[in-house]
Each structure stands twice: as structure tokens, then as C-alpha cells.
């Protein structure tokens, strides 16, 4: 019965939302038929039988999807591509010398403004890993051990040279605040598959190897999309989800009784005022109550086997990146559509050698463990795994570290639909400019949507009279070269 009610409620909500859109799109009552046809067209899909609780706006994908969920291991702060995935022997020979002016003149710089721009040799050696022989920095032996499952994109570039706008661009496709994040877009398009967890979850950790640059909630905000598509942060201390815990002194039975009483009285009230929002409100109280049980169960890692904990390198529940990776896997298993796991530790302006050693250790094992774990559980083939930051770091020295760099950096993909055991694109000999198969953040977004069965050109939302897209108005391409 409850189920019927939920379906009815969500349908009414969908009617509201869609009619609202159609209404904005068209003019006023005068137009009639046009808006109505589009309503009727969308109507069919709203009634299609489906397992999804919150329907996405796309009744069916634009083309067959390769993956149905995404995990983004977000290396916040900007990891150096030169000490991770982009080997540059020439830079080693250049150590201490001034970078060619032809490269650096007129280019953006962050903290190195007004300073001499001298090459800093790569601080570590690279090795060949796997059958594919992919070249990866020696600091990442575990990631190296799954090298055959990776597609290394070495030709990324972006527009924004400071953390804040660069994060925004990477998440929303625009450096202007107010646009939806990619997780929100995906949830809006595809909906979610679980009815007791949010469809877009954000986890965060900090490291010991450098400054933890701030991040902002707008990075997982739904922007102009309805608020229910916002990412929900899970916390490692306190209530795992804000306001999830019952008030002090209130027992579970009492809370249950309270929710039942509220829902009963709301239902009665609906009879008096005929307000469709009430059915939705009732459904949301049910979901909230379910979350009070489901979320703590999910975030309690004590049921994981010793072997699993060991593989990830965590005892769980300690808020480390490793613990978050394991939690992320549990979320994905439950049908969460999009998970972001931020590790805020990569802003290595100084002492990059020492910092890289520390930070690499914090993520190496868990990243590889996650890939293996997803495989063992049969989730790998329809999951997209992303590893990377908002930008790279300069081939130039900033003292003993490196500054922000936007003209070339690396991003690693794995999972379903990805051409693995290979790399794509290249930077020049100095690791300064992406020169072969340059891939903008927008291209990455187009490709991400493509893997999810979405054509980024067609996936739009009307706001202030414009059909907005995740990929914006500039040219964006699906990067065919990284697709299996």
C-alpha cells in the first residue's frame, strides 16, 4: 500500500515539475496544444513500470549505457602529473634551468607570479606495470598492479588556475556559481535505484602531506536543478548524515510513533485541503525514518571481513581515504548513483618530494583495492571509476614544490566501457602543454555522460530562458579514444 502511495506521490511531483518546465518554456494559456503534446509525450514515460523510486527525467537512455554508476576519487588540491602518471625525462635534464619562454610567456601563473620560472626535475622514477607496461610513478605500486585496468589520460587541460573556480569548473562545467554539479545532472537524468539512501553521496578526507585546501558545498550543489538532486555529505564523525540522529532521550519506538502520528494527521489534513504536496511530504517522512536505520547500518564497516579491511588498508570508520573507499563501495552496492570521494591533500607548493611520498601512500592501496573489490563483486563492468584532481602542477619549481598548472595534467579512468591498459593523449617534453589529443574538462564531461547513455547535446534543463547543458556552450566532444 505504501508503495502505491509513493508511486502516486512521485508521479504528482513529476507532473508538477514537468508542467512547471513546460509552462516556463511556452508562454501562457494561449498556446495550448504545443505544451500539451510535450506533456503527453513525457507522460507516457512517467507511467512506465520501473524499479526506480525517484525516476530520472530520461525515460530511456539516448543510446545503450555502458555504466550505471560513477565513483569519483577526487584528488583535491591538484596532484602533480609529473610525479604520478606523466613521465618526463627531459624535465630531469632541464633541472634548474629556465623554462623556454616560448612556453611560459603570457601564460597564467598562480603563486609564481613575478618569479623566475625554472624547471624542477621529476622527484621520482617511473616504472612499467602490468602486461600493458603502463608507465606509472614508483610511488604507486598498488595502482600499478591494476595498470591493465586503467586508462590514463595525459592530455587534460582546464581554464581556472585557482582551486575554488577550478573545482567549480571540474564539477559543474562552469566557473560561475549556480550551475548544477555533474552528480546532480546524472541523478536528475537517471534517477536513483535505492529508496533509503540519497542518490548522490559525497565523502571527504584530509591527508598529512600538505595544506588541506578548502572545498565548497557548491561542488555538489544542484544549482538551478531542483534541490533534491543535491549531493548529500556523509560524515565520518557525529551523525553520518546531518540531523540523522534522534534527539537525546528519544527512543526509536518514540520516533517511529511520532513519524506515524505526523503522517496520519497529514493524511487527514490532505482530505481537507486537497494539497498534493502532502502526499510527497508523507513519503519524505517515511524515507527520512528509513534513513535513520539504513544509513548507520551502511556506514558501520564492522561487518566487513578482515581480508577486505586488510585489502583496503583500514580498520574502517576512521575517516581516512581508505575507509571512505570501502564505504563508497557499500554505497555503490546499494544502488547509489554517484559517489565522490574527496581526498584534500594534493596542494604541494613546497616540499613536494616528501609530500608526494606521504600522500601517495594515503591513496595508493585503497584505490587499487576498490578496483579489485568492484571486480570481485561484479560491479566493475557497469561502474565508471575516475581518479584525478582539478588541475595539475607546474613543471617549474616553486621552492621545493610546484605551483598550480592548467595547460596539461592527467586523469585516470577505469571500469565499464573504458579502453583499459592504455593511455590517451600526451603533454610536451616538459609536461607543460597537453599537445596530443588535448582533452578539456568539458570533453571529460561529455564522455562521462556518454558512458552513462546520455548524449550531452540533448541533455538540457531550461533555466532563465536557456537550455543549459553540463558541457556548456563551448565545443565539447566525446573522447572516442578512451572508449572500449
Amino acid at each position: 500500500m505504501a508503495n502505491r502511495k509513493s508511486v502516486k506521490a512521485s508521479v504528482r511531483q513529476a507532473v508538477d515539475a514537468q508542467s512547471r518546465r513546460s509552462f516556463l518554456r511556452r508562454t501562457s494559456l494561449g498556446i495550448g496544444p504545443l505544451a500539451l503534446w510535450s506533456l503527453l509525450k513525457e507522460d507516457e514515460s512517467a507511467f512506465a513500470e520501473t524499479a526506480d523510486v525517484t525516476r530520472g527525467v530520461l525515460a530511456r537512455p539516448h543510446h545503450p549505457a555502458k555504466v550505471k554508476r560513477v565513483i569519483h576519487l577526487y584528488m583535491a588540491g591538484g596532484p602533480s602529473h609529473l610525479e604520478t602518471f606523466d613521465e618526463k625525462p627531459v624535465l630531469r635534464e632541464m633541472h634548474g634551468q629556465e623554462m623556454p619562454r616560448s612556453l611560459t610567456d603570457g601564460q597564467q601563473v598562480a603563486q609564481l607570479q613575478g618569479q623566475s620560472l625554472n624547471a624542477l626535475a621529476p622527484q621520482f622514477d617511473f616504472k612499467s606495470f602490468g602486461q600493458s607496461g603502463q608507465r606509472i610513478c614508483e610511488l604507486f605500486p598498488e595502482i600499478g598492479s591494476v595498470a591493465d585496468d586503467l586508462c590514463i589520460v595525459r592530455s587534460m587541460h582546464t581554464d581556472q588556475i585557482n582551486h575554488d573556480p577550478a573545482h567549480l569548473l571540474f564539477n559543474t562545467g562552469s566557473a560561475m556559481a549556480g550551475r548544477p554539479s555533474m552528480g546532480s545532472w546524472v541523478l536528475y537524468g537517471l534517477g536513483q535505484e535505492c529508496d533509503d539512501l540519497p542518490g548522490f553521496v559525497v565523502l571527504t578526507s584530509v591527508g598529512k602531506g600538505g595544506q588541506a585546501q578548502p572545498i565548497a558545498a557548491r561542488q555538489w550543489h544542484s544549482g538551478f536543478l531542483p534541490s533534491r538532486y543535491q549531493g548529500v555529505q556523509f560524515h565520518s564523525t557525529g551523525a553520518p548524515v546531518l540531523y540523522l540522529n534522534r534527539p537525546d532521550g528519544v527512543s526509536e519506538r518514540q520516533q517511529r510513533d511520532l513519524v506515524t502520528a505526523v503522517n496520519t494527521l497529514n493524511a487527514e489534513f490532505d482530505g481537507l485541503v486537497e494539497d498534493p504536496e502532502i502526499a510527497t511530504r508523507i513519503q519524505q517522512y517515511e524515507m527520512a525514518f528509513r534513513m535513520q536505520t539504513s544509513v548507520p547500518t551502511l556506514t558501520d564497516l564492522s561487518g566487513e571481513s578482515e581480508k577486505t579491511l586488510e585489502a583496503y588498508g583500514t580498520q574502517g570508520g576512521d575517516g581516512t581515504f581508505a575507509s571512505n573507499c570501502l564505504l563508497a563501495r557499500r554505497l555503490l552496492e546499494q544502488g547509489v548513483r554517484f559517489v565522490q570521494v574527496y581526498h584534500r591533500a594534493w596542494d604541494h607548493h613546497g616540499a613536494i618530494k616528501r609530500s608526494m611520498e606521504i600522500t601517495a601512500k594515503e591513496v595508493d592501496q585503497a584505490t587499487a583495492a576498490l578496483i579489485r573489490d568492484l571486480k570481485e563483486r561484479g560491479l566493475y563492468d557497469d561502474t565508471l571509476i575516475i581518479w584525478g584532481g582539478e588541475f595539475g602542477r607546474t613543471p617549474m619549481a616553486q621552492g621545493s614544490g610546484r605551483d598550480h598548472h592548467i595547460q596539461g595534467f592527467s586523469l585516470v579512468l577505469s571500469g565499464g566501457g573504458v579502453r583499459t591498459g592504455t593511455s590517451y593523449g600526451a603533454t610536451d617534453d616538459f609536461g607543460y602543454n597537453a599537445v596530443t589529443d588535448r582533452t578539456h574538462v568539458r570533453d571529460f564531461h561529455a564522455t562521462l555522460l556518454h558512458l552513462l547513455g546520455i548524449d550531452h547535446h540533448k541533455f538540457t534543463y531550461r533555466f532563465q530562458g536557456l537550455d543549459f547543458k553540463l558541457t556548456g556552450v563551448e565545443e565539447a566532444r566525446v573522447v572516442k579514444g578512451i572508449l572500449a
Binding site: 494559456l29 495550448g32 588556475i161 564523525t237 520516533q255 511520532l258 496520519t264 616528501r354 614544490g401 536557456l466
Partner: protein, 1015 residues
Amino acid sequence: MSTRLVLILAWLLTAESLVRADSPNFNRDIRPILSDRCFACHGPDEATREADLRLDQAASATEERDGYHAVSPGDSGGSEVIRRVISADDDLRMPPPEFGEPLTVAEIELLRQWIDAGGEYAQHWSLAPLHRPSIPTPAATELVANPVDAFILRRLEAERLLPGPPADPRTLLRRLAYDLTGLPPDGDMVDAFVADPSPDAYRTLVAALLNSPHHGERMATYWLDLVRYADTLGYHGDQEQSVWPYRDYVIDAFNQNKPFDQFTIEQLAGDLLPDPTLAQRVASTYNRLNRSSGEGGVQPKEYLAKYSADRVRTTGAVWLGSTFGCAECHDHKFDDYTAKDFYSFAAFFADIKEEGIIRNAVHIEQLPVPTPAQQRRMSELDAEIAVAQAEFDERSDVKLKAFEQWKRRVAESQGNWKLVRPVTATSEGGATLSIGHDGSVLASGDNPAEDAYLITATLPIERIAAVRLELLPDDSLPAKGPGRAGNGNLVLQSLELEVAGRTVEWTTASATHTQAQHSPEFVITGNRVGWAILPQTGQPHQFVLVAKEAAKFESDDRTAMIRLGQRFGSGHNVGKFRIYVAAEVADEPESAIALPELLTIFETDESQRTDEQRERLWDAFRQQSELHAATRDRLRSLQDERTTLQRSVPTTLATTATTPREIRVLPRGDWMNDSGELVEPALPHFLPAGSLAERVASGERLNRLDLARWMVDRENPVVARTMVNRLWMLFFGNGISRSVDDLGSQGEVPSHPELIDWLAAEFIESGWDVRHIIRLLVGSATYQRSSTPTAAQTEADPFNRLLARQSRWRYDAEPVRDNALAVSGLLERKVGGRSARPYQPPGYWRQLNFPMREYEADTGSNQYRRGLYTHWQRTFLHPSLLAFDAPPREECTARRDRSNTPVQALVLLNDPSYVEAATALAARVLRASDDDFENRLETLFRMALARKPRPTETQVLGDLYQRDLAEFREDGARAAALVSVGQGESDDALDDAEWAAWTGVCRAVLNLHESIMRY
């Protein structure tokens, strides 16, 4: 058949019946199609225009082009537009397949009819000159309370839809109180109105609510969304900024019913008014509410461009109701704004004194805004300080004689500082330390995130009273040092000196320069923040520590160990330094502190000293001498008080005008591209200049004050329309044009075009009297109708565009909070003041940095302030406001989302603010009536919802109460825990178990849908 299908079919039938007999209206029927489907390539943007055809202009559309016309008036068959939209050939059909779906049959039919009827163009409705339409006369004149109703009824009659009944008095009063003050009416007010719901009583209530100081708060809440008011920078570290005096200005403006033209002028250009008042200068804070960044690697030019664009976007949205921001990179695709318009508009704001990077996250140009009491005390202090200062400055013979003695004494002690020559110098973090011939130590090689240097040396003296660390620049260091961080900075957390096996304890620390917030004292206390030197890198510095008690070597072995602790992280380590020790410091520690600076003066022969050097000595002397002690102490304590007072004076980021920066058109918005045309301030080219025409023609440079006056010029067609449309939304749920954020081509054509124009004209002619418009709106019969739809209304007008009934909606985020606090009696009703900090889950700010911060909730009554006073943290807005769709205010928000989510349920159920409100409400109920359950429940419902409980409610809540009570009786500790949530405390007069069980009932009532809805 499903509900949905029924609904749509019903609408279809109604819509069919609505099809007009008259021919299509360009603005209502045709422009939306052309704008949405054609303008992108055949519209205002020259860069993307195809075939040199503009369908937004009659001349271009109808001109002859090689024997055909795009639009041939009167002849749809001969119009290329029709041929192209119906073509079956993908290559010919418009719009091209990659641009979108073909036009629908209905759209094509409209185009045909329009062309056949003459293809007449009309100026876009919001840009057309504003003329007051005549008031229509509907048939049902008895339903007309004021002209607003006449417009609404006329349309309803045309659509053959019956207006609904009036709302019942209780609902009406709750609606009115919410709309005018954002707070619920109290029970007595409701009783009185229910007893006498006459039009007179209603008018009296309207007047009372408008005169309430809470009216300004309610109106400000919306205005603050528009101007994106917030308490933090918004970018990166999102540090705090003080702008709340502006918020209070806005509240006050609405409470005073400040005419909207004046309100506009003061915000945009209050600083440029002749002899501006403090309030007018505070108002100009509007110009500096944009997001800004203190991130270290900010390129100032880039951020100045960001701030500049932000202002155009926002001002365009706030006053012009436009998406002007679209023209940052290209001419607007749908409206007439060109990129040149955008940058010319930006040039109006080029005079604002500001910096691209907000260094140390502290803004320049902060305007103190003292209260009258503060101002009074400040003048008193200034007078007293002047007297004390005169005394202090006086050079009597006695003082001059003592000065000579002092100089002799200090000169003798100058030799005290002895160089320490290190024997070994090692880095714990792995850096290479080399000892120079001059006794200096230079670091190179690895620069670990954190480090500590260990120096061993044989000290040159046996008694150690002070140590001096001299920092030296060096070319090998980043930015020449003296630190090793990328910018030449360093952070010192500790300096340990071990003499004869004992660590010396320090008493004072001082330095020649100290970075903001990095006090020398931290080196003594070991605070991680430490001492640092930004922005004075690349030069030497002195740092002196004075021992609490002089240390002494007991034997001939004068080996000492010195350890410099540097734990800030990211390589903020010392680059080059030298160490000195002294056996004596002068009696007062000040002399020792002054010594490093005075060294060179004393090394100079008395006769060779400059006047400045003499003055410095004199000053050092009177800072120490006994003769000056009394005056000095008095002066210091007066100055301390003044400083403390000064610090407590609030500030705001008022606008200061300076020489305007150069503004260029930035091609594609690229701040690095300087090839664009230089522009001067100019109004959007297609809007009438009004009374500014002469100034424009004169070629003089226009300024912000011109812009501000133009905004509220009688001939400006958009500002009044924009504002009345938004006021309408506040009282009817939607704008007359629903797109309150876009009155341009892509926005919605108003449902009642004549009404919006009539209101706009009325607004201007009333002297921009906001309250006059509000009285018209709430005084209308339309406003006072019931919001419960009849079946016919739901079918005919599901989205209530015709207003046969009122609309209903969930409270905004702030009033959701305010309502709970008000009914529970917790609400602190003070108006204005510093932003408040309600309870917030610990760790919510974990993602912030520079600095890391812990949220500290306010205590006392400040905890219970209205939602609009909540500290507005842009990157992490208070989560319970965010849950109810409060915007982060990074950009202008003209309309909030009204979502319905599980997180909202969690907030109302579990946020301590709402739990505490429930305990307070329960206590209120228990104290108000000591009768049986039903009486108490009646009291509760009267307080919370201003009505009697229904039988089901009595039964359901009675059951809830009984079960909770039994459980709390068994476990008294849980009851005590529940009633002491927040700042609550057990009360001897109340039984904990009963109180806790009533808290449960109150929670249920506060969680009811009805409790957060405006009906």
C-alpha cells in the same frame, strides 16, 4: 484512467476553449516561438547570425532578399519562413536538425495566422514605454475591492471561470501575517479577527502588520536574496566579512517605507550623493557584496574582471529583471544587450576602490558604523587622549636631563649583544644547514613540510638574559627569503635554549615586523599559528626573546643547545639566520625589545644623528622612564579603551570612489585579451536615456549616480515592471510573469499584461511607494480568496495563473525557523545587529581552511534570533536553512526553489533548534493550563496553529502522549535528557516525564505540514 491523464485532458479541453478568436498577438504568441527556435541564429547576436537575417526585427524579416521575403506580410504562402519550417528536407528545414525538433503543427499554424493577418511586430512588452492602461469593468462589480480585482476578474470572466470564496478569517489572518511579517499571528489577534472579520478590521490589521518592525525583516529577506547578501567572501577560504550594517539598512528602509527610487539611488551610489549620511554610505555596500577571493595564487586582474562581471550580472538581474550576464562573452542571443553594453555598464562600477586579491582575507576600505553611544564615547576619549598626549609630549628641563642620563646608560649596554657562533647545525627534517664565516646558518636542499633546527654552540657569555634571532635574506631562497616557503615566508613556533641542562623560560617576545595574526607571543606559548613575516619578505628581521630569569652557566663549559621549531607545514621553514645573546637587558623589558632597532643609532656619533634618529631615541626613552610612567599609563589605558571601542564598532564594505579603472570589451569574456575596445560608462543602447539624455549627449563621462538616477527615471520601462512583478510574487506565489528573473524574450509573457503595467505606473506615480503597492495587493479581494481549489478550478487552471483562488506554498527557510521559535515563545524579537549563530552540527565546517575554524553557537537569547540573521556562510550555508532551499547567495536569486525532501523531515525532527522549540512550547502549554489532556491540547493548538484540534488529532496525539509518558516514567533519565536539549534546563515546577511526553506532542505538531505552510 490515471489522474494525470484526466488532468491533462481536462486542461486540453479548457485550453481549446481558450483559443482566441482574434489573430495571434506578436508578444504573446509569436515572439516566444521565434525567440526560442530562431533567434540564436537569426537574432541580436551578430557573431552567430546566419544569412544576415534577423527575425527579431521587422525591417530585416520583411526586406526583399533576391526575390523573396522571410516574412511577407499578409502572405504566409509567400513567406520563406513558413516554407522553411514546413520543409520535409532536412537540409532546408528550420531549425536545422542539430538545433532541435521541428516546429509543431500548432506553432506553424500560429505563424501562418500571424503573417496572414499582416505579420505585425511589436516592441517586446517589458521594453515598451510604460502607459497606464485603463481599469477594466468586469461584470461582477460587487467582487471588486480595488483595481487589482478588476483586471483579474475581467480575465476570469473571459475564461468563464468563477472566482472562489473568500478565505476563512483564521486562514486569512495567518496568511496576511506570514506575508507581511514572516511570523504567525498570536492567538488573541486571531480571536479578535474571527469575532469581527469586517473590512475595517482587516484594514486595521494590515496597517498594524505593516507598522510592525518585523515587516522590514520580512521584506529584507527577499531583497537580500536578490543582492546576494552574505557574511563571507564566497571564494576559497570563505572567510568572514562584515557587511551586516547593510542588512540592517535594508530592514530599516522597508520599515521606514523608503521610496524605492531613493532606496535604489542610495545602494548604487549613496557614496556619491552630496554630503552623504552614514546610512547612505552604508547603503552603497551593495556594490561590494560580490564574492571575492583571498586565495594566495589569485591573479588580481583576473579577479577584478570576475568582480566586475558579477556586478553587471547582479545589477542587471536586480533592477532590470534581465539576463544581462549572458552578454559577458557575446551579444545576447535573445535580447538586445550587446557585449559592448555589458562592458559599458561595467564601466559605471570601475570607480569602486577595491583589490583583486583580498589579502589575508581582509578587505580594504572598511567603513566604521558606530552606534550613537559609541560615537559619544569616542569623542570623549579623543578629548582625554589629547590632554594626556600633550603632557606626554612636553619636554621639561627635568625630563630632558633624565633623557641625557638614559642615553648614557643605554649606550653602555649596547655592547651587550654577543654573536653566537654555531659549532653544529642540523635539521631534523633533512634539510642541509651550512654555517657561514659570519656565524650565519643557511638552509638548502630538501625543504620538508615541517622542520626543527638544532644548533650547538659555546656561548660567548656566562649569563643569558635574552636571545635575538636575526633573519637574513639570501638570493638562494625563494623570493629571497628569509624563509623557505614559496613566497619567502616562514613560521616559527618555538625557540628553545638549553643552558646548563635547563631550558630557559621566556617572558616577552617582540619582533621588528609581525604578520597579521601571527604574534611573536605564540613562540612562547607554542601556538601552532606561530610568528611569521608576510608581506615583508626579502629583508632582514629581528626577533627577541627575554628570559623570565637570566640563565647562568655553573661551570666553564658554556655549551648550549638552541632548537628552532617550525611546525606550520608546507615548508614554512627558516632560510638564513644568525643568533645573538645578551647578559643584561635594561630594567624594563621595553629597552631590550627596542634594542635591535636602536643599535645603529647608538653606533652613530651623537653629533651625526639625524633628527629622525633623535626622535626615535626620545620616544624610546619616554616609553621607559619613571618620570613618564603616570602619564604613559593613563595614555595607554585611554588608548586601549579607544582601541577596544574602535574594534567593537561595526564596519561595512561601503563604496569609496577612486579614479576609474580602464574597462575594455573582453573578447569572449577573456580577461587576458587586451585587444578589445576601451569603453566608458554607457546605458544599454536600446533603452531610453530619459532625463539623462542631455548628459549622454554632452559626452561627459557618466558615473554611478547617473546610472542610479536613470534606473528610477520615469521613462525607464523595466525597473518598475520588474519590481511590481516580484512584489506580486511575494503575495500570490508567482509573478504575473512567472519568470521574475527574466523579463526578456525568453521569459514568460505576463498572464495579465495590463495589470503589470497598471501596477508599474501606479508604483512610479505614487512616488515609488512600496507600501502603497503592498496595500493594493493585500487589499484586493483576489488576495483574500480561499486557496483551496474547487474541482473546476483544478481542472481549468491547475497552476492558478488566472487567480480564481489564492495560491499556497511552503514557508521559506527562515520563517520555518521563525514560526517554531515564535510559537514556542523562544523567539528573540530584537531587530538588527550582528549575524547570529544557531546550533549547527559539529564538524560541518570541516572542509573550510585558512584558517580552520570551529563553529560556536550563540548562547543566551542570541540563539533564538530570526532566520534572516543567521550567519550566511556562502560555501557552507547553515544546513537547516539550506535544507529548506535558502540560496547560498553567491549569485542573485529572484525566486527560490520550494522542494519537499527527506532532509527537511530530518531537520524538523532532529535539529536541536526544533527540538528545543518543542520543549519550550511544551513548558508553555504546561504552565498555561494545569488541566486535563484535552484542555492542554487545545492550548497547544491555539498557540501553534490558532485553531482547535480536530477529533482525530485529539485521539492520535492522545495515544502518542500516553505511550511516551509511560516510557518516560520508566526512564526518568531520558526524560531529563530530552527536556534539556539546547539551553533548556529541568524545571522544579514541571514533572520531567510529563514535560518530555508533551515535548513529543509538540514535536508532532511542529512537524505537521500545516505548520510550515502558507494557505
